[in-house]
C-alpha cells in the first residue's frame, strides 16, 4: 500500500479537497446538525450553489417545481444527496482539464450518461439508492481525469496514440495503476461516501465490490456499457474489453425492461443537453 500511495503522490498534483467539501463532510458526520447549518456552509461558495441548484432543477431529479435554495434542496433530498451533489460539482470545478488533452464536454456527457442510465437501471429501488447510482455514474471515471490532469503527455500517449485495445490491464501496466485505483485514491482523499468509492474502485470489476454495494456497482458497470453502445459522449475508451454476466444477472432486469430503461434514460440525457454544456 505504501508503494501504491507513493505512486499516486507522484501522479498528483492530486487536487486538494475544496474547503467547502471538507467542512461539509465534517458537518454531516454530526447527527444533530440542522439543514440551515449545512446550507450556510454550501452557500459560502456561490458558484457551487449555482451549479447545485442547476442540477437539482434538471430533469435528473424529476422536480416538477423549482427548488430555489440549498436549504430547500436539503429538505427535499436529504443530506446524503446534497453531499453527493456537492462532490459532483466540486469535481467539475477542480479537475479542469486542458481541452487539447481531453474533450471535456464529451467526457462529461459520457459521465452524466452513465449516471442517468445507472439511475434508471435501479429505478425499482429507493430514491436514495437511485441518487447514489446517478452520482456513482457521474464520478465513475474520475481516475482518468486525475491522469489527464497530472500527466497529459502520458495520458495522450496511452489513450490516443496506441492502436491496441486499451483495457484496464494495459492501463495498469502503462501507468502502474489503472484508473479505478487512481480514482479511488482521490475519492478517499476527498472523503467520498463509501458507496461512491466502491463504484469508482470496481466499475470495471464489479465482482470485487463489497456485497452491500454489488447492485450499485453492477448498475454503473452495465450503464457504462450501454452508454458506450448508444455512443453517448466519449470517455477516452473506444473498446469494451469486458462484460460481467454476474453484474447483469444481479440487476434482475429483462431485455424488454432494458429497452424501456434505455429510452427513458435517453429522454433525460437529450433534455439535459444544455446542462451538460454549461455545468
Amino acid at each position: 500500500m505504501d508503494n501504491f500511495q507513493s505512486v499516486v503522490d507522484q501522479l498528483a498534483n492530486l487536487p486538494s479537497v475544496p474547503v467547502v467539501v471538507q467542512k461539509l463532510h465534517m458537518l454531516i458526520q454530526d447527527d444533530g446538525v440542522g439543514s440551515r447549518e449545512v446550507a450556510k456552509i454550501v452557500e459560502t461558495d456561490s458558484a457551487l450553489v449555482a451549479r447545485v441548484l442547476k442540477l437539482v432543477n434538471s430533469s435528473f431529479y424529476g422536480m416538477t417545481q423549482s427548488v430555489l435554495s440549498v436549504e430547500e434542496a436539503i429538505s427535499i433530498f436529504g443530506f446524503n444527496t446534497l453531499h453527493q451533489l456537492v462532490l459532483s460539482t466540486a469535481v467539475f470545478n477542480t479537475l479542469d482539464i486542458d481541452e487539447s488533452t481531453l474533450d471535456i464536454n464529451s467526457f462529461w456527457r459520457h459521465s452524466f450518461g452513465v449516471g442517468v442510465f445507472a439511475k434508471h437501471l435501479r429505478s425499482s429501488a429507493s430514491k436514495e439508492i437511485q441518487s447514489e447510482a446517478l452520482t456513482g455514474g457521474i464520478l465513475h471515471d474520475i481516475g482518468r481525469l486525475v491522469i489527464a490532469k497530472s500527466n497529459p503527455t502520458k495520458f495522450e500517449a496511452f489513450y490516443f496514440e496506441r492502436k491496441a485495445v486499451t483495457g484496464i490491464e494495459q492501463e495498469a501496466e502503462f501507468f502502474d495503476h489503472d484508473h479505478q485505483q487512481i480514482g479511488e485514491m482521490l475519492a478517499k482523499k476527498w472523503n467520498f461516501p463509501d458507496p461512491i468509492v466502491a463504484v469508482i474502485r470496481s466499475h470495471h470489476t464489479p465482482s470485487d465490490a463489497p456485497d452491500e454495494y454489488k447492485k450499485l456497482v453492477a448498475a454503473v458497470n452495465i450503464a457504462d456499457l450501454l452508454c458506450h453502445m448508444m455512443q453517448i459522449g466519449y470517455s477516452a475508451s473506444s473498446y469494451a474489453t469486458e462484460f460481467d454476466s454476474e453484474a447483469w444477472q444481479c440487476l434482475d432486469i429483462s431485455m424488454d425492461e432494458l429497452k424501456g430503461h434505455i429510452h427513458s434514460a435517453l429522454n433525460e440525457i437529450d433534455e439535459a443537453s444544455q446542462i451538460l454544456k454549461n455545468l
Partner: protein, 53 residues
C-alpha cells in the same frame, strides 16, 4: 482522437460500425448480442432510421 458526442449525429451504418467495433471483444456473449440488437432498435426508433429487423 475519436470523439462521438451524440448518437443522433450518426446514420445507422456508422452507428452499427461503431457498435461492432466497440463490442468486438465481447460479442460472443449472448446477452451482449441481445443488448446490441436493442441498442440498434432504440437508435432506429429515435432517429427514424431504417432498422433491418
Amino acid at each position: 482522437m475519436e470523439r462521438i458526442n451524440d448518437y443522433k449525429s450518426l446514420d445507422i451504418t456508422e452507428f452499427h460500425k461503431q457498435l461492432e467495433k466497440f463490442l468486438s471483444m465481447i460479442l460472443h456473449y449472448e446477452e451482449v448480442q441481445q443488448m446490441a440488437r436493442i441498442a440498434e432498435e432504440v437508435f432506429c426508433e429515435r432517429t427514424d432510421s431504417p432498422c433491418e429487423s
